[in-house]
């Protein structure tokens, strides 16, 4: 008995060690990037390398901030917040309607099928013609040209539709008997009932918009309108790479998302488990 217990304990230690090792391997590239960002320029490009900065320096951060980094943060934030707001509202309305009127209106599934087209072809392939549409609408070099094309997400509509399918129709029925309008039923009763989806979608959408790359790269031409991602890309020249700026800017771009994740991770994990769709 004692031996079996001992063996059990050994297994526990061994498995936990492997677990910790995997975690360290996964996080190490980011730690290395973080540590490098605090190294002085002279240390960055000189052997031998050390994990911890020999001389702690925040010069690279001062440098990117001086070069207008907060403007990029502001632009990214605006795009992420406004884009997410629109995404949540239109997805909730649409997913709700597709679910709640399914018995009275016989073409709800056909309408939903149109949105499913969105999952057939990756957006990347349509970028060129999306760009043509954005330009034709006069949205070239305009934040709205970055926001509007991507606010509709089939994933979001799907998540809300599934959620409202599980809510008994009698709930809306009794509100109607009390004389509530369709809009009021949605706004006051149903939307709050979808809060679990709202939280998941808010986090996902914020992350997608914050990390968006292709569309902002195509649409935004003026430096003062750049998002963080585009600013980082602009540090990569054809001949030389401005590593000093890239290190600090990359860390600054990661921090808000990681903080958001650590506080809200249970919703993220739940969101993936229920929708399972990416992008």
């Amino acid at each position: 008995m004692n031996n079996a217990k001992k063996g059990h304990r050994m297994q526990e230690i061994l498995i936990t060690l492997v677990g910790v090792l995997v975690a360290v391997i996964m996080i190490f590239p980011i730690i290395w990037l973080l540590m490098s960002s605090f190294k002085a320029n002279t240390e960055l490009f000189a052997y031998p390398l050390h994990l911890f900065p020999q001389e702690f320096s925040i010069n690279s951060y001062i440098n990117v901030i001086k070069n207008g980094f907060f403007t990029y943060v502001k632009n990214s934030l605006f795009i992420a917040v406004v884009g997410t707001l629109i995404t949540v509202i239109i997805s909730a309305m649409c997913g709700y309607a597709l679910a709640i009127y399914r018995n009275e209106i016989n073409y709800t599934n056909k309408v939903f099928a149109i949105f499913l087209l969105g999952t057939l072809v990756p957006g990347e392939i349509l970028t060129i013609s999306q760009f043509t549409v954005v330009s034709a609408l006069g949205l070239y070099n305009n934040v709205w040209g970055v926001i509007l094309p991507v606010v509709t997400t089939t994933t979001g509509i799907f998540m809300y539709r599934q959620h409202y399918m599980s809510i008994p129709l009698s709930l809306a029925e009794s509100a109607r008997i009390d004389g509530a309008s369709e809009l009021k039923i949605f706004k006051d009763i149903m939307f709050p009932l979808g809060s679990s989806v709202t939280v998941s979608l808010t986090i996902f959408s914020f992350m997608w918009r914050w990390n968006d790359y292709i569309l902002p790269l195509m649409v935004l031409s003026e430096q003062k309108k750049f998002t963080i991602q585009i600013a980082i890309k602009s540090y990569i020249g054809t001949m030389t790479v401005d590593w000093i700026s890239i290190l600090a800017a990359s860390i600054l771009s990661i921090v808000p998302i990681v903080i958001l994740f650590i506080f809200l991770q249970k919703y993220i994990v739940g969101g993936i488990a229920t929708s399972g769709v990416k992008g």
Partner: protein
């Protein structure tokens, strides 16, 4: 009469609720989809010229060695990475669902963190370690007495770095899907297994693996799509180089379209490549009964 009035009210409400999403989706997805097909029959240069050229773009495409090379490269890249995209997250998920593991939550959280990075920054992060002159990996190789490797100049090594980054950034995501799959396996089955004296390796191969096949299938499909459309990650590492050795199909489309101003030709490539993605999406569709659920 009242019924009819109510039906009208509901139809109106339905369309008002659906309209914003439908309108934006039509303008920024359906319309570009139609335009792409339309452009593919023209010599549109993104500016003024747009003449109908019939099937010329398609003929050019199917006789272009460059196109086949880009497509072939993309397939090789996807196929070589596919096993890792499934096996690594599956093993990690098995590890982090083990009852013997202490500190499950922080370990899962840390493994997930790379997923949060944008593809560009993920590429940059890995690229920084694989720097030729002052990169950590080459430093370690030298410390161990080896010669530093030319990560950016050797096509095979460059592809390795991209593959490494690509896997690194998706392990956490697929791990979550596998954890979901593992948690759905009834506990009684494991209990029965342990009563019968099955070792954990036996349990994994005889029980976990077969019961996880739906999840494995989904991860295969999702990672196929992800690998075939790899783009932003590469922009953070090789930008398609050295030469064109890491120019995969999406990058090739952008190069043709935005760099060479051949919108028409690029659209034709897009149309052909779309067919590949549509096939994958339809398979996924059937597997998940018409939704995106796992």
């Amino acid at each position: 009469m009242i019924k009819k009035k109510q039906a009208f009210r509901h139809t109106r409400a339905f369309w008002l609720f659906v309209l914003p999403a439908l309108l934006l989706f039509s303008v920024f997805f359906i319309l570009p989809l139609i335009l792409s097909i339309g452009f593919s029959f023209t010599n549109y240069d993104g500016w003024k010229t747009m003449d109908f050229v019939g099937l010329k773009n398609y003929i050019k495409l199917f006789t272009s060695i460059e196109f086949y090379k880009a497509l072939g490269r993309t397939f090789v890249y996807a196929l070589c990475n596919l096993p890792f995209k499934v096996i690594i997250p599956l093993l990690v998920a098995t590890l982090v669902t083990s009852k013997r593991l202490k500190g499950t939550t922080p370990i899962r959280t840390i493994i997930y963190i790379p997923v949060l990075l944008s593809a560009l920054v993920a590429g940059i992060t890995i690229n920084w370690m694989f720097g030729q002159e002052y990169g950590l990996i080459n430093f370690i190789i030298q410390k161990l007495g080896g010669t530093p490797l030319e990560w950016a100049l050797n096509p095979k090594l460059a592809t390795f770095v991209i593959s490494f980054a690509s896997n690194w950034v998706t392990v956490g995501y697929y791990m979550i899907l596998f954890i979901g799959g593992i948690n759905n396996i009834p506990k009684e089955l494991y209990e029965a297994g342990s009563v019968d004296g099955a070792t954990s390796v036996q349990t994994f191969f005889r029980l976990t693996l077969p019961l996880l096949s739906p999840t494995i299938f989904i991860v295969l499909l999702l990672s196929s799509v992800g690998l075939l459309k790899e783009y932003a990650l590469i922009q953070g590492i090789t930008q398609g180089g050295p030469g064109t050795s890491t120019t995969y199909i999406i990058k090739y489309i952008f190069d043709q379209g935005f760099t060479q101003y051949r919108y028409g030709y690029a659209s034709a490539i897009g149309v052909i490549v779309s067919l590949i993605f549509i096939v994958i999406a339809l398979i996924q569709f059937r597997a998940t009964n018409g939704g995106g659920e796992v």
